[in-house]
């Protein structure tokens, strides 16, 4: 019983410590992590595991270990943010692996990267012929950035000299039956306007709305909690 209690308390400490420290470390996406960030995450995670369940380790010392790793990581981040040279030295830099349609074998070897890996990454990006590539760079996070040759790029409205309307972010006005007043204020609208709009859509109770968003063109999107759409296909593959 005593040990169960200790494990519970240690778990609470480990859980919230990890939560707080990962928030402190930043909002980097998993896909943007460098190889070192990845290792750092695993190391800190495994230390948190030891902190929680290894009763033969002193909880304070393990916690101190985690805190030190996080502090060092923050120190490295602040150094790499301030100094470009340090950033290049610590995080490395992007390597050109294709230039003007030609694969740079020497650079590939230096990065311990196989040609088949490169071709696979190109295929994932929808490129089946390396000669269509002007530049391909292997980023520090291991991802491939590709610049296609201009004749193989998709046509954009800008290429056709077409004018397009501005499109910004939609804003949530109702979430799960509750009006988000601060968002309404932000777009200089009030609840009466919203109620009128809902009545126009035959909705007389706000609690029936699951989600309502307003886009930059002024169009209100409304999704009610009751779905009236007839499902043409059975989504579930079990019954």
């Amino acid at each position: 019983m005593e040990q169960s209690l200790i494990i519970i308390v240690r778990s609470i400490i480990g859980f919230f410590t990890l939560l707080i420290f990962t928030r402190v470390l930043g909002k980097q996406q998993v896909s943007q992590l460098t190889y070192f960030d990845y290792i750092l995450g695993i190391t800190i995670g495994s230390m948190a595991g030891i902190l929680t369940t290894d009763l033969n380790s002193r909880v304070w010392l393990v916690w101190l270990g985690i805190a030190t790793w996080v502090a060092l990581s923050l120190l490295m981040k602040s150094i790499t943010l301030k100094s470009r040279k340090a950033s290049k030295y610590i995080d490395g830099e992007a390597t050109i692996v294709i230039m003007n349609g030609k694969i740079m074998e020497h650079n590939l070897r230096q990065m311990s990267f196989r040609a088949t890996d490169l071709l696979e990454m190109l295929r994932v990006k929808g490129i089946f012929n390396p000669s269509h590539v002007e530049f391909a760079l292997l980023e520090t996070n291991g991802k491939l950035s590709v610049l296609r040759k201009s004749q193989y790029r998709k046509v954009t409205p800008n290429d056709l000299q077409l004018n397009t309307d501005y499109e910004g972010l939609s804003i949530e006005l109702i979430y799960d039956g509750i009006i988000i007043s601060q968002n309404l204020k932000q777009v200089n609208l009030d609840q009466n306007w919203l109620k009128n709009k809902l009545e126009q859509a035959d909705i007389y109770e706000i609690s029936k709305v699951f989600l309502a968003t307003l886009d930059t063109s002024g169009t209100l999107y409304i999704d009610t909690k009751e779905d009236t759409v007839q499902i043409p296909i059975e989504i579930r593959d079990y019954s």
Partner: protein
């Protein structure tokens, strides 16, 4: 949420965790039972050296009680194997006192004292 409160919550949580994790060290130094246990172990040593076996056995029983009431509080500043080893040492010492084996009793007691010193420091 207010920015101040948003920062205050994690900082207070971390401080609370640090206090909990180090509570064992503080308690082991300030708990009456912990201080008595140190004295008991010293007295026990004197009685073994002077061959007062019955008195030593009584003191060991008291030490065992003191250890039971103290050990719960030092879980966070100690490790499970250290606590279990202490329990084993107390049992071994009991046998050594019963058989009046002075050498064995003193060596186990020395180990116990050293471990107790480690646990509270």
């Amino acid at each position: 949420m207010n920015k101040f409160i948003a920062k205050l919550i994690p900082i207070s949580l971390l401080i609370l965790f640090i206090l909990i994790m180090n509570s064992g060290l503080f308690l082991s130094k300030h708990l009456a039972s912990a201080q008595q246990l140190s004295n008991q172990l010293n007295n026990l040593e004197k009685n073994i050296i002077n061959d007062n076996w019955s008195l030593a056995q009584q003191q060991l029983a008291k030490s065992q009680k003191l250890w039971n009431s103290t050990s719960f509080w030092i879980h966070f500043s100690s490790t499970l194997n250290k606590l279990e080893q202490t329990n084993i040492n107390l049992v071994q010492l009991k046998v050594a006192l019963k058989t009046e084996d002075k050498k064995l009793a003193l060596s186990i007691l020395a180990e116990l004292q050293q471990r107790w010193h480690y646990l509270i420091n």
